[in-house]
Structure formats: structure tokens, C-alpha cells
């Protein structure tokens, strides 16, 4: 129920600058996922939004209110912590009531809010239990319940799924997404898991070393990553990178093989110092002579498809192929990027080169 603006935000810890200069506009009711490797500043950014950390420069707006100097309690935000941070000596009901009691709400209103949230999250049976007596998934729900009862303007999530097992994670992921539709509240979600980012976000913010690399919808960051970092971080397994030299209409690979230049990639740039990026799912297996020869080192069947780790053009690559192909380690295949799906990067600037087709 509020937009968020970060303008030239600076955050330092002592002499170390964690966030040098950050600008980000988050729209009302938007589900934003901050994603990046450990130490990229995403959690710091979340704590800055929460008011748990003060900023050293710039402006932070929630709605049309400048909250730089507004304490956490007065920002009207709720946060779900990585370890849930439930009050261990209180029952689930008391945990959810605490923030409301701090606002001196009447007991009847507090109970009504708790009941509504408990119904929404299906945690009624545990209301009188303490956190110790709950499973990880249940604690996670209670942590969300504690946030929901406050009816905040903004929800902040700090890697809330990282302590759940894989199966539960998928389930809770879907639940949070559904919840965000029902609550229609601005949500900022921090994760290092790009699958969580892809599946939940309206827009993804990819960060590295305190600097935003790219902001875009999941499709945008997947299909048009702005640089090598985003390209390698989003998508699993990671995008393959091949150093190439562009000679006219031919992509010359290390080891002497070459591929015809995909028309979409043609940029007018030519010469060495280019990198071809191909996602594992964007390789196709072709008859001999039409692709680059690849020696299969390892086969990982996933059921729906099969990953093959190959050695080609003096690089270790991964390709996602049909299981019907029945690849075997030690065998060989010929691979070619699917037309229109490969990317070209400048190896000096690490930026993606935009093709003639505008993509």
C-alpha cells in the first residue's frame, strides 16, 4: 500500500562502503525480489528499508514520506526474518499479538486480527503452542502471520525460505506468491536463490557489490541480461560462455571450430574479445558438420530432460537435451545454439551487445 523510493542511497560500515550509490523505484503493490550472491548488499538494503540500519547518504521514501530518520517502529513495515525471530517464550498467539499490544489496540480487535490471519495461513491449531513445538514450515507461517496482523504498508522478507527443505520451499514459495495477490501490499523479498527470484517476482533486482546490475521482469533478466554477471547469475545451470572472434559472418571459436553468425546477433562489431553466451537449454543437437563437436564428459538425467557436461571449443559446457537422445559419457554430439537465443558480450566491458533486431 505504498511505493518505495531509494535515491542515491549510501550505506557504510565504518570505512567499508557496502552500498555506494543506489537508486530504485518500487511501485505500490509490487513484488520485488532482491537477488545476488552473498555479500552483494541485498540484506543490508532490506535492513535499511526496515530501519534497522541508518543510511549514510541519499533519501529513502516510503509512500510520500521521507523516512531517513524515522525509527523502524514508525515506518509501518513488517519483516519476516531468515531465522523467523519468533519470541521463543511466547505462544503463537502472543507472538502475533505483541506488535498490536505495543500499539495499545483493544483486546477484541487484536483477537479478531489474529483469527483472520490464522485463518488465512491455516495456523489455527497451533495458536497456543510455543515456537519450539512447531516445525520449520509452521514457524515460517507464524512469522508471516505476525507480519500480516500488523497490516503494514510494506512487507520485507529476508531469505525466509532458506531454512526449509526443498519440497517445503516450493510449497511456501507458491503460498507467498498467492498471499501477495490477496494482500495487495508492496513486498520486498531478499534471496540468493535465483529460482525463488524468477518464480515470485514482479520485478527482479540483481545486485553485486552493493550496485544494482539490472532491474526487470523475470523474463527480461532471463532473456536480455544486461551483462555477464546477470547472465551467469540468472538461470540454472548457468549460461555457457565461449570466447570468440568475429570474422565477417563467422564466429571463430577457440580450437578452430566456427559457427555462422546468427542474424539476430549481428551488431556491426567485429574482431576478437567477444564472448558468446548460450544457455544450456538453448543448445540443439545437430547432425555432424552443422555444429561444434562436443565430447560428453558427464550425463545428469533429470527425468524431464537430461544435462550433458561436454568439452567443446576448449571449454567445459553444459547442454540441456532431450532424454530420448540417450546420451552416454564418453560419446560425442554436435551442438549449435538455437537461432535467436544466443547472446554476444564484450569481454572488456562485460556488457551484452544489442543485436540489430533490438534484442
Amino acid at each position: 500500500m505504498a511505493s518505495i523510493s531509494l535515491r542515491n542511497v549510501v550505506k557504510k560500515y565504518g570505512a567499508a562502503t557496502v552500498i555506494p550509490d543506489l537508486n530504485l523505484e518500487i511501485e505500490d503493490e509490487e513484488f520485488i525480489v532482491l537477488v545476488g550472491p552473498s555479500g552483494c548488499g541485498k540484506s543490508t538494503l532490506l535492513r535499511v528499508l526496515a530501519g534497522l540500519e541508518a543510511i549514510d547518504g541519499g533519501d529513502l521514501m516510503i509512500g510520500d514520506r521521507r523516512v531517513n530518520d524515522v525509527p523502524a517502529a514508525k515506518r509501518d513495515i513488517a519483516m519476516v526474518f531468515q531465522d523467523y525471530a519468533l519470541y521463543p517464550h511466547m505462544t503463537v498467539r502472543q507472538n502475533m499479538a505483541f506488535a498490536l499490544e505495543m500499539r495499545d489496540l483493544p483486546a477484541s480487535e487484536i483477537n479478531a486480527k489474529i483469527d483472520a490471519a490464522a485463518k488465512l495461513l491455516d495456523i489455527h491449531p497451533y495458536l497456543d503452542r510455543r515456537p519450539k513445538a512447531l516445525s520449520g514450515g509452521q514457524r515460517q507461517r507464524v512469522a508471516m502471520g505476525r507480519a500480516i496482523v500488523r497490516d503494514p504498508q510494506v512487507f520485507l522478507f529476508d531469505e525466509p525460505l532458506s531454512n526449509l527443505d526443498a519440497k517445503l520451499r516450493g510449497q511456501v514459495r507458491a503460498e507467498i506468491k498467492t498471499l501477495s495477490r490477496q494482500l495487495r501490499t508492496t513486498m520486498v523479498f531478499v534471496t540468493h536463490d535465483q529460482i525463488e527470484a524468477m518464480t515470485m517476482a514482479d520485478r527482479i533486482v540483481v545486485m553485486k557489490s552493493g550496485v544494482i546490475q539490472q532491474v526487470g521482469t523475470p523474463e527480461e533478466v532471463y532473456e536480455a541480461p544486461i551483462n555477464l554477471f546477470v547472465a551467469s547469475f540468472i538461470g540454472s545451470p548457468s549460461m555457457n560462455f565461449l570466447p570468440i572472434t568475429l570474422e565477417g559472418e563467422q564466429l571463430r571459436l577457440a580450437g578452430g571450430d566456427s559457427l555462422p553468425l546468427d542474424s539476430g546477433l549481428s551488431t556491426g562489431v567485429s574482431g576478437p574479445d567477444l564472448i558468446l553466451g548460450v544457455r544450456p537449454e538453448h543448445f540443439e543437437v545437430v547432425p555432424e558438420g552443422q555444429g561444434i563437436p562436443a565430447e560428453i564428459m558427464l550425463v545428469e538425467p533429470l527425468g524431464s530432460d537430461t544435462l550433458i557436461h561436454v568439452r567443446a571449443a576448449e571449454q567445459d559446457l553444459i547442454a540441456r537435451v532431450s532424454p530420448d537422445l540417450r546420451p552416454v559419457a564418453g560419446g560425442s554430439v554436435f551442438l549449435r545454439p538455437i537461432a535467436g537465443k544466443a547472446h554476444l558480450f564484450d569481454s572488456a566491458t562485460e556488457m551484452r551487445l544489442i543485436g540489430k533486431n533490438g534484442k
Binding site: G51, L52, A72, F98, M102, R103
Partner: protein, 289 residues
């Protein structure tokens, strides 16, 4: 099978010294004391009778009931002061984070001091005519006190001395408890809008209860058996106003050679200590989170 038997024998051999030590140093004296508490002795140490006479004698002994009262009065007063001040001190230290080494040594020095030395020191400080305590009181315009010589003041004074000595110990235990509390819970409370007062009374204190009960157990055992400091300073006086059960038992045994009666008093004290420990352990189970 033979290997297993062999191993078992070796294990028994290896634990034998510890077992012998435990039996001879703890179990034997304790059982012997219980046995003695059912004897009556002449002043020369000859057994003159057998039975529950010593325990019957306690019931009619006003000094015994006085001892129980003094023991509990001193216990409760000292325990409350040490817990409150110890928690306060721990919170200060917790906030201060880094404390210079010299300050830390200074801070834990009271409980490293032998109680006898502490007792002597406080005797000097509290001397009604020459001591620093009264000098400070009178220079502040307050009336001087007889401290350990006053029937009214003797127990509070002993409690103050013990509190001076043992508060740092309690503070260290509580500090350990504070340091183990999850920091994210405090951040959650900050976001939930809890005032400092609410954080202390609704988060910190309940979370510290198990630690506080542990400190209570450790101090209870010492406080109920309070002996050395009293023996050095008042020996139970003035006129029995600091005669705890332990001091009373000691004097019965080693001044009046009433060995049977002294043993019965000590057995009673042991039962009280045991009862307190059991009660506090129950309490701890209740406050565990």
C-alpha cells in the same frame, strides 16, 4: 564375549579411583553424619544413647528455630540483592561491549578474594568508631551505624558484604545468558514498536529466566550454608542475631561437643539445601523456552 568381559573389567578398574574418592570423601561422611545424628554422646565422646532424640530436641529448641529464621532471612535478602544488582551490572556490561582488561579484572576481583580476607577487610571498613563506612555516613550528615554489632543491622550488613563479593559472579552468569539471546528477536521487537521498557520486561527478562534460575541454584547452595564470613565477623552474634543454622550446628558440635545434636542440625540443613535445589530445578523447567 571374553573380549567384552575383559573390557568391562578394565573399565571398572579405571573408574575405581574416582569411585573410591567419591565414596570416601562424600558418601561416607554424609552417611556417617546421618548415623551420628541418631546418637547421643557424652562430653568425652562416648555414645550414651540411640534414637530420634536429637530430632525431638530440635523441635523444642528456640535456638534451632531462630537459626532457621536467620538462615532464610539472610538467604532471601542476599539472593534478591545479588540477582537484581547482578542483572543490572550484566546489562551495563552487555551494553559496554568492550571492557578494558584492567576493568574486567577489577570487576571480578571480589569473588576471587578468599572469604576470610574479605571478612577481615569489611571488619575494618565497618568498625563503628574507626571504619570508613561510618566516616562516609557522618560526613554525608547521616547517623552512624553499629553495623555488625547491631542486632537490627547485622543480617543486612552480612547480606551487603556477601552481595559485594558475589554480585560479579551472578553478573557473569547473566552476561553469558544475555550474550546467547538471539539478536534477531530484538530486531523483531524493534520493528514491532516495543519501548525499551517493554523490551526489558517482555522479552529480555522472560528469556533470561532460565539463566537467572541457574544463578539462583548456584547462590542458594552457598547462601543456605553461609558460614565463613559469619564465622570471621560475628560468630553468630550479637546475641544470636546472626546465628544461622550452619553456625549454630558448628558451635554445638565443636564448642559444646554435642556431636549427635550438631549432626542432626547439619542433616536438617542438608535436607533444606536439597529441597531448595529440587524446587528451583522444577522452577527452571517451568521457565524454559
Amino acid at each position: 564375549m571374553r573380549v567384552e568381559n575383559n573390557q568391562r573389567r578394565q573399565m571398572a578398574m579405571m573408574s575405581l579411583p574416582a569411585l573410591v574418592f567419591t565414596v570416601s570423601m562424600i558418601a561416607f561422611p554424609f552417611i556417617y553424619t546421618i548415623w551420628m545424628s541418631f546418637q547421643t554422646y557424652s562430653s568425652t565422646g562416648q555414645i550414651t544413647g540411640w534414637g530420634g532424640g536429637n530430632y525431638r530436641r530440635m523441635i523444642d529448641d528456640a535456638q534451632f528455630w531462630n537459626g532457621i529464621w536467620i538462615t532464610f532471612y539472610l538467604y532471601a535478602l542476599s539472593l534478591v540483592m545479588q540477582l537484581v544488582l547482578g542483572t543490572g551490572l550484566a546489562l551495563l556490561l552487555f551494553r559496554a561491549k568492550r571492557l578494558p582488561g584492567i576493568l574486567r579484572s577489577l570487576f571480578i576481583s571480589p569473588f576471587l578474594m578468599p572469604p576470610v580476607v574479605a571478612g577481615m577487610m569489611w571488619l575494618v571498613i565497618l568498625d563503628p568508631s574507626l571504619g570508613a563506612a561510618n566516616w562516609i555516613l557522618t560526613s554525608l550528615g547521616l547517623p552512624p551505624s553499629d553495623w555488625l554489632a547491631s542486632p537490627m543491622m547485622v543480617v543486612p550488613t552480612l547480606a551487603i558484604i556477601d552481595t559485594w563479593q558475589w554480585t560479579p559472579y551472578v553478573a557473569l552468569i547473566v552476561l553469558g545468558g544475555l550474550q546467547s539471546l538471539p539478536p534477531s528477536v530484538y530486531e523483531a521487537a524493534e520493528i514491532d514498536g516495543a519501548s525499551r521498557r517493554a523490551v526489558f520486561f517482555r522479552i529480555t527478562l522472560p528469556l533470561l529466566l532460565p539463566t537467572l534460575v541457574t544463578a539462583m541454584v548456584l547462590r542458594s547452595v552457598d547462601l543456605l550454608r553461609f558460614f565463613d564470613l559469619i564465622y570471621i565477623t560475628t560468630q553468630g552474634g550479637p546475641s544470636n542475631h546472626s546465628m544461622t543454622l550452619n553456625i549454630y550446628g558448628f558451635r554445638q558440635g565443636f564448642e559444646f561437643f554435642q556431636l549427635g545434636y550438631a549432626s542432626a542440625l547439619m542433616v536438617t540443613l542438608s535436607v533444606m539445601v536439597l529441597g531448595a535445589v529440587i524446587a528451583l530445578n522444577r522452577l527452571r523447567a517451568g521457565v524454559e523456552w
